[in-house]
């Protein structure tokens, strides 16, 4: 018996998915324990053992998606960091790029994360390397010793970030600095900029390095506590963690480079979306995870999650590659309000989960999107979040009447439908922006709604976007946890440079890749995976000479002229993303090697037995463009494979509700996935 467990920690719930050969996956949710997230994880495990009679000794994989890194930043609870910089450049973090996000602001707020290492915890070190990688000023080792000692003894720092100019071209000074720091304090956490983010532009590299140092002690403590908890529970599997690019790594390796964990949870969700799409034979997907305060949008093209070279963490540009997950400030808790001119507005303020929508009965006095869903008849008050939360629909009616319908002179259902139309328009624009940025046309994609509220909005959103296919995963509320089990073990190594592509030789390329291959292989050996099943892929970051924003381009080494093919591939990606590509000289800014070992092919889950009637009756709902109609009501878990349903219909299940609009056709596929399609002429 070989049991695999995936656990994803969310803000409200911790989800566990358990898979055993030949059996359908089992899922459970327990409330999250934000102050110490490992408690909820161990509680979920204990629950699984009790309820399902699992023997801990059979657990061969234990994979985790965590928000600890992100939360440390959002709550400013990371480590005290000391920053070492080149003499003359100690203030890189405060100077930033001098650009502001709010066009019309006059009371300015800081646009840079100076909190990571304020002036008092920064030290300048005499050393200098130039743009050719040549040492102009040798490292002043005594100054390093004095600075590290001072920072540790007098400033109480627990981690040191080192970001010297041009270290990505010549890492010797940074490497020596770490040696000195560890001679003095063997247990000090040290992050070096040429390792964290080997690429030019000192602000972005310093920022990434400081973030890495900031979350490192926190992640160390957290992951070792969780690991110890699993050992104590007699789980033999070593803990693995999802990384921001969508691959997993052993906790022991992941904690060395915690900056790669900021999108741990969302990346798992995207992988889950890919699996769901595959089960419906769809490879081009847009996942939309609608949460309480925001929604996450991601793209999967030809079965691969789209990556971006730089993402935002708490609004700051963190330059490590990650799945292209974009948050927009609209979700189920978004508040509908009237402005001074009588305009109906939705968001950006949210009722969050406390007090939450009015229907939660926790004192929420604002009309939210979820309240509108209640009024429109989409949600079953007695069957929300698996029945854990009993909603009070009368409060939704009251609040929408009072806040929106009466002042606007509208009927209450009209007002609720209005709230949905507005928030759907916002989400649709958000989705369109994400696809435009990747140079892709949203219309040819299938929508994968995730989260508790995704499937409520799916058909309306798809209509806004002229999308004709929707894939509703069997368990959209726990998709991230399921994604953990389907992701590859992945390690990545890269090196930065500034070289014209036409002056780069094949032998040099092969040597650089071989060094990175060796680095990845060493990491892979720590994972205990079967190295013969390893998939190796190469990437290059390229831009045109004169540009400074690069694109990641796949690099195929098997052809006769890898560098020529790379240039052609660059032109094609550039054309897709930017809309043009002239045959001008290109600059090579980084090489990247990725090693992956994919999990054994999933055993197809057993079909849901039609042991009972899925049809539960009808409910009156209000649909856009259709008004008040009787929708047929179904219980998701009783739907037999092959069942066909025509909209309007509602399909209920413990973790979500699927609203099927007029003109949509639903069919139940193997494994319980729902595929919704819209007639061409609808």
């Amino acid at each position: 018996m070989s049991i695999e467990i995936g656990v994803d920690t969310g803000g409200t719930f911790t989800d566990l998915v358990c898979r055993a050969p030949g059996q359908p996956p089992r899922i459970l949710k327990v409330p999250s324990t934000p102050s110490e997230p490992s408690e909820a994880i161990l509680e979920a495990l204990a629950h699984a053992r009790r309820e399902w009679g699992i023997d801990a000794a059979d657990v061969t994989r234990f994979i985790h998606g965590t928000t600890v890194a992100t939360n440390a930043v959002l709550e400013r609870k990371g480590a005290r960091v000391g920053l070492l910089a080149t003499k003359g450049f100690g203030d890189v973090l405060d100077i930033g790029r001098q650009f502001r996000k709010e066009m019309y602001a006059v009371k300015m707020v800081s646009q840079v994360p100076g909190f990571l290492a304020p002036g008092a915890r920064r030290r300048e070190v005499p050393e200098r390397i130039d743009a050719a990688g040549t040492v102009l000023v040798p490292l002043d080792e005594d100054a390093v010793r004095a600075a590290v000692t001072d920072l540790v003894e007098n400033k109480g720092v627990a981690a040191i970030a080192v970001a010297y100019l041009f270290s990505f071209l010549n890492p010797t000074h940074e490497a020596r600095t770490r040696e000195i720091a560890l001679e003095l304090y063997p247990h000090l956490a040290v992050s070096l900029s040429h390792e964290v983010n080997p690429a030019f532009r000192e602000y972005e590299r310093t920022l990434a390095t400081a973030f890495d140092a900031y979350v490192k002690p926190t992640l160390d403590t957290y992951l070792s506590r969780l690991d110890a908890g699993l050992k104590a529970a007699s789980v033999p599997a070593s803990l693995q963690v999802m990384q921001s690019r969508g691959g997993v790594a052993s906790a022991a390796v992941a904690r060395l480079r915690p900056i790669r964990l900021f999108l741990s949870g969302p990346a798992a969700g995207v992988v889950g979306g890919r699996i769901a799409g595959e089960s419906a034979a769809q490879q081009d997907l847009i996942t939309v995870d609608i949460g309480g305060t925001s929604s996450d949008i991601a793209l999967i093209s030809r079965g691969k999650p789209m990556l971006r070279p730089e993402g935002l963490v708490d609004g700051y540009p963190v330059r490590v590659s990650m799945v292209d997950v974009n948050a927009i400030g609209a979700g189920g808790g978004s508040i509908a309000w009237l402005d001074g001119a009588g305009g109906l507005r939705v968001g950006p303020h949210s009722a969050g989960s406390e007090p939450g929508p009015a229907c939660y009965g926790r004192g929420g006095r604002n009309a939210t999107v979820t309240d509108a869903s209640i009024v429109l008849g989409y949600l079953n008050p007695a069957y929300f979040a698996g029945g854990r939360l009993s909603l009070q629909p009368e409060l939704s009616h009251e609040v929408i009447a009072r806040e929106i319908a009466t002042p606007l002179g509208l009927g209450i259902e009209e007002a609720a439908l209005g709230i949905h139309r507005v928030v759907n328009a916002q989400m649709a624009e958000g989705i369109r922006a994400v696809s435009v940025n990747q140079g892709l046309d949203a219309r040819s994609f299938a929508l994968v709604p995730l989260g508790g509220a995704g499937a409520v909005h799916a058909t309306a959103l798809a209509e806004e976007l002229s999308i004709r296919r929707i894939v509703v995963p069997r368990h959209p509320g726990v998709l991230a946890a399921a994604g953990l089990l389907s992701a590859p073990v992945e390690h990545e190594a890269s090196s930065g440079m500034q070289r014209r592509l036409d002056a780069f030789g094949l032998a040099e390329l092969e040597a650089a890749l071989a060094a990175l291959d060796a680095e990845c292989e060493a990491l892979m050996r720590l994972e205990g995976v079967d190295l013969s099943r390893r998939v190796v892929s190469y990437f290059a970051d390229l831009c045109f000479v004169g540009q400074s924003h690069h694109l990641e381009v796949p690099l195929a080494m098997d052809g006769p002229d890898p560098l020529g093919a790379l240039y052609e591939a660059f032109l094609s990606v550039h054309d897709r993303v930017f809309g043009h590509a002239e045959r001008q000289p290109a600059m090579l800014t980084a090489l990247r090697v990725v090693h992956q070992v994919w999990p054994e092919a999933d055993t197809p889950p057993a079909d849901t037995p039609p042991d009972a009637e899925a049809f539960k009756g009808t409910r009156t709902v209000v649909l856009p463009g259709a008004g008040k109609v009787d929708a047929r009501l179904y219980e998701r878990e009783r739907l037999a494979v092959g069942t066909a349903i025509e909209g309007p219909a509602i399909i209920e299940q413990a973790d979500t509700t699927t609203v099927i609009g007029l003109g949509w056709h639903a069919s139940v596929l193997a494994g319980g996935t729902l595929l919704l399609t819209r007639a061409e002429n609808a």
Partner: protein
């Protein structure tokens, strides 16, 4: 000559012909889509542009206008561009009245005296038709790399007339019913130094307008051209109403403010006065620049749209930020400029360096508004960009061109300190990384640090400028240094101190020191070092009232020295 020109974007479409009550939900749905369309145009514009100006500096903007020439939606871009589009669109409508516009037309112009602001900014306007009806106008503006004239880049700081600044285009048809104007293109290509870049960037502008048109047509198909026009009117009326509600919260009266540019780049000894009188009354907000200095010989003149841009920024800054930005916001605004002055120069006065003037004019309006509503506006910020243009030749004969845009600190306000080194007001360009500059040019950056003690002291301290130093390693270099705030400091408020002025200095290889008088064109040789200290923002409130913990923090973090702290803030321990 008329004594004064009154500019107002308030060409209100009075008495809407669309009488029916509009569904408030459809209005809001369409508003969200319009914002999305403007931003999609912007993405297209930036992503498909070719020149480093646009790609790295983001110096391009997209917007939508109604057929009557009012802003319908703006992308998040450069406020200066977005506001100067207003008189530009008016000029296009006057030249090509809606009845004569045709599907497939695209109009272009750049002449400041006919509605542009400076020659490198080329404006494009595309009428959008649905089913034969003119629905809206899609516009895109790009700062082009070069439009000819006396110096590469078309920004000569020593120009004394506009003919030296580049090729002037009146409102013309770039595309006529889908057919490109090959005559115009041939003239353009022959008159600029980088024709390929110009064509690439023009195509990006066309692509942006095309995306805007395509999506507006989809909207018209869903909602009907007639209803769409009614929705546009409603959106503008609402933003006007909301802006007036914000204005009503301010006290009535006239509030003057004066500040000075260091000089005009030609007459280096004479400072240039910018004077504004801001009146808040039932009509709205009036910004009168009539008392500013006469036009100058150098290129710091600004055609009237510059003052309008300053006013548009101010009215948007003072009103509630949740108000949707469109032409309705600008209806309560009136800007008055006087013929023959800095803000309404008589041709052929040069105008290419107008950004410095417009930034400071914006600072002046904000300064006047602070007198009206002290809590709502910060003390003076630096409101200036120190611009360096560097054209060099290495000893092996190879050439390079590069530049730097350095900013100072922002003003402190009633609830917080100013921010160090940050772009403000109508501009928003990024700085260049040290690692990019050193890779491009034989220049060694010696330091780039926060400039200690440069923030004006106060209960809330002004933001800091930066200290930076560049040593030329090889060959020689022509340096155009366009400074500001060398002679005039950001003024503190309510007892707060002034921000430090700009200092620029060249230390020659032999040790000779040459102070730079704000603007200069000079030659640097290998071994020469250029030192620049950018200005600080001003303080807000009495420094003695500064929280002592924050003062100690400033000292620990290196923003304030102990000596300066004792002198300006009083005893550190209380």
């Amino acid at each position: 000559m008329p004594p004064a020109l009154t500019l107002s974007p308030a060409t209100t479409l009075c008495g809407s012909t669309h009488g029916e009550a509009l569904d408030p939900i459809t209005v809001e749905v369409i508003r969200n889509k319009l914002d999305g369309i403007a931003n999609e145009m912007q993405t297209t514009l930036v992503r498909s542009s070719f020149s480093p100006f646009v790609k790295e500096g983001l110096d391009a903007s997209a917007s939508l206008f109604t057929v009557s020439g009012q802003t319908l939606a703006q992308a998040t871009a450069i406020p200066l561009h977005l506001a100067t589009m207003i008189p530009m669109v008016e000029r296009f409508i006057a030249t090509f009245p809606p009845a004569e516009m045709a599907e497939g037309d695209i109009y272009a112009m750049n002449d400041p005296y006919l509605g542009g602001t400076h020659l490198p900014d080329i404006y494009l306007v595309a009428p959008v038709f649905y089913d034969g009806t003119l629905v809206a106008l899609a516009t895109a503006i790009t700062h082009h790399q070069d439009v000819g004239g006396m110096s590469a880049g078309s920004l000569p700081t020593h120009a004394t007339e506009i003919f030296q600044e580049g090729l002037r285009l009146p409102p013309l048809k770039l595309r006529d019913r889908g057919r490109m104007n090959e005559t115009l293109l041939a003239i353009l290509k022959l008159n600029v130094r980088t024709p390929d870049l110009l064509m690439g960037d023009l195509n990006a502008q066309i692509a942006a307008c095309t995306i805007g048109a395509r999506r507006l047509c989809a909207l018209a198909e869903t909602y009907g051209a007639h209803d769409l026009a009614a929705v546009f009117d409603t959106l503008l009326d609402r933003s006007e109403l909301l802006t007036r509600q914000s204005l009503a919260a301010l006290p009535r009266g006239t509030f003057p403010y004066v500040d000075y540019l260091d000089n005009d780049g030609v007459d280096l000894e004479r400072r240039v006065k910018i004077a504004v009188a801001v009146t808040i009354d039932d009509a709205g907000l009036t910004c009168d620049f009539s008392a500013s200095d006469p036009q100058v010989r150098g290129p710091f003149n600004s055609v009237p749209s510059g003052a309008l841009a300053a006013g548009c920024f101010a009215i948007r800054a003072l009103a509630d930020p949740t108000i949707p930005t469109n032409g309705g916001c600008f209806r309560p605004l009136k800007v008055i400029v006087k013929r023959g002055t800095l803000f309404d120069p008589v041709p052929p006065a040069p105008v290419n360096a107008r950004t410095a003037t417009i930034k400071r004019a914006t600072g002046c309006i904000l300064g006047a508004l602070r007198e009206a509503a002290p809590g709502a506006f910060p003390a003076d910020g630096s409101h200036s960009t120190i611009t360096l243009a560097m054209g060099g030749r290495r000893s092996d004969g190879t050439r390079y061109v590069t530049g730097q845009a350095l900013v100072g600190g922002t003003g402190a306000h009633s609830a917080g300190d100013g921010i160090d080194a940050l772009e403000t007001d109508v501009g928003n360009v990024m700085n260049q990384p040290v690692e990019a500059l050193e890779a491009d040019a034989p220049i060694h950056v010696v330091e780039r640090r926060l400039r200690i003690d440069s923030g004006g002291p106060g209960k809330f301290r002004g933001g800091l400028g930066i200290s930076t130093a560049y040593t030329l390693l090889d060959g020689e270099l022509t340096l155009t240094h366009r400074g500001e705030r060398h002679n005039s400091q950001a003024r503190g408020y309510a007892g707060g101190g002034a921000g430090a002025p700009t200092n620029s200095l060249i230390v020659r290889a032999d040790g000779t020191r040459e102070v730079i008088p704000s603007k200069i064109v000079t030659t640097m040789h290998a071994g020469d070092t250029l030192l620049i200290e950018t200005p600080g923002g001003a303080g807000y409130g009495d420094p003695h009232e500064r929280d002592r913990d924050r003062l100690r923090e400033d000292i620990e973090n290196g923003r304030v020295s102990e000596g300066a702290a004792t002198a300006a803030y009083g005893p550190i321990e209380t």
